[in-house]
C-alpha cells in the first residue's frame, strides 16, 4: 500500500540516494550526454524533498502535484519535464486518495508511462528511461501486490543494465548514435533506482544495487 507517509518517505529516500549516486550518473551522462543527469536529478529531488518536508497534504494528489512543480523549476534538463509529467500523472491517478493499493499504484505507473511517451515522443528501445519504466510498470500490473513490486524492481534493474547494449535514438545521446552503445542510459539507471526506492518504501527489504556500472 502507498500512503501519504510512505510516498513522502520515498521522496526523501530517493533524494538521498540520488545524492549518493550523483557522480555515477553524471559520469554516465558525461560519456553520452552533457554530464549533468546526476546533478539535475539530485538537485530536483532535493528541492522536492525540502518542499514537502513538514508540510501536510490533503491527499496523494496534492503531494504529487507539489513534487511535480518543485521538479519543474529545479531539474533543468530533459529529466525535469519527464519526472514532472510522472508526478502529474500520479496526481491525477491518486487524486482524493490518502492511500492506494497496488492495483492503483500500477494504474498510476501505467499513466506515468503514457505521459512519458507523450512528453518525450519516445518508444521503448530508444535508450531512454522509458525502457525501464515500461517493463517495471507492466510487472506490477501483471501482479499488483508485494511480489509484483519486487518483480518491478528486478525488471527495472535488468532493463537499466540492458540499455548499455543499444544505440540512443532520442535525447542528447542520439547525437552519438551507434557510439552510445556500450554506456548505460543515465536516465534508465536513475529510473531503476526510483523503483528500488519506491519498492523499499512500500514493501521494504529491497536489496539496493551499487550501480558501479
Amino acid at each position: 500500500m502507498l500512503t501519504l507517509e510512505t510516498l513522502q518517505a520515498f521522496i526523501q529516500a530517493y533524494a538521498a540516494r540520488l545524492a549518493e549516486l550523483c557522480t555515477v550518473l553524471d559520469d554516465l551522462d558525461n560519456r553520452i550526454g552533457d554530464g549533468d543527469h546526476g546533478t539535475n536529478m539530485a538537485r530536483g529531488f532535493r528541492t522536492a524533498a525540502d518542499r514537502i518536508t513538514g508540510e501536510t497534504f490533503a491527499d496523494l494528489g496534492a503531494l504529487c502535484q507539489a513534487v511535480a512543480m518543485a521538479l519543474l523549476a529545479s531539474v533543468g534538463g530533459a529529466s525535469g519535464p519527464l519526472y514532472a509529467t510522472v508526478f502529474m500523472r500520479f496526481a491525477q491517478s491518486w487524486k482524493d486518495c490518502t492511500n492506494v493499493d497496488f492495483e492503483q499504484v500500477a494504474r498510476g505507473l501505467a499513466s506515468a508511462c503514457e505521459g512519458l511517451r507523450a512528453r518525450g515522443k519516445a518508444e521503448v528501445g530508444e535508450k531512454t528511461l522509458l525502457d525501464v519504466w515500461t517493463p517495471a510498470s507492466e510487472a506490477l500490473a501483471a501482479q499488483p501486490d508485494e511480489n509484483g513490486m519486487r518483480a518491478a524492481v528486478a525488471s527495472a534493474t535488468k532493463a537499466a543494465l540492458a540499455s548499455r547494449d543499444i544505440p540512443a535514438t532520442k535525447g542528447r545521446a542520439a547525437y552519438l548514435g551507434e557510439r552510445s552503445v556500450g554506456t548505460c542510459d543515465p536516465g534508465s539507471i536513475s529510473s531503476a533506482v526510483f523503483f528500488e526506492e519506491l519498492a523499499d518504501a512500500t514493501v521494504g527489504g529491497v536489496t539496493k544495487t551499487s550501480w558501479q556500472t
Binding site: 519543474l72 531539474v75 533543468g76 530533459a78 525535469g80 542528447r172
Partner: protein
C-alpha cells in the same frame, strides 16, 4: 506578436534577445533562459515569460535543444488556456529562425507567414555564393 526565446544558457538567451531587438525594434521579445546560474531550462520561467506577453498577442516560442522544447510544452500545459491557445512552439534553428521571425513580425506579416519564414531559415544559406 510576441517572441519568447528559450535557451539552456541565460547569457545566450539575453544576447540573442538584444540582437533581435536591434533588428526588430518594437517587437515584443522575452527570454526564459538558464536555470538560475546553471545551464538548463525551467518550465515555470517559460510560463512566466508567456504570461508577460500582451494578452492580445500570438506568441512564438523558439528553443535551443530538444529538452528545452519539452519544458516549453510543459509550460504550455501549465499556462492558462487563454495563453496556451495563442502560443506556438516553432521547431526552427534558434538564432536564424528567431532572426527571420523578428524581421517578419516587425513587418506585421500574418502569423503563418512569420512561422513559415522562421522554418525556412533551416534551408537558408547564410554564406552566399
Amino acid at each position: 506578436m510576441s517572441l519568447v526565446i528559450v535557451s539552456h544558457s541565460k547569457q545566450l538567451g539575453e544576447g540573442l534577445v538584444k540582437l533581435l531587438r536591434q533588428l526588430a525594434p518594437g517587437v515584443d521579445i522575452h527570454e526564459a533562459a538558464g536555470l538560475g546560474d546553471e545551464l538548463g531550462t525551467d518550465a515555470t520561467a517559460i510560463m512566466a515569460a508567456l504570461q508577460q506577453c500582451p494578452n492580445t498577442h500570438d506568441i512564438l516560442v523558439f528553443f535551443d535543444l530538444g529538452s528545452a522544447a519539452m519544458n516549453a510544452e510543459m509550460a504550455l500545459e501549465l499556462a492558462p488556456p487563454s495563453v496556451a491557445v495563442r502560443t506556438r512552439i516553432v521547431d526552427a534553428p534558434l538564432v536564424e529562425g528567431a532572426v527571420a521571425a523578428a524581421v517578419a513580425a516587425r513587418s506585421q506579416l500574418p502569423l503563418d507567414d512569420v512561422i513559415q519564414q522562421a522554418e525556412a531559415a533551416r534551408t537558408m544559406h547564410k554564406m552566399l555564393g
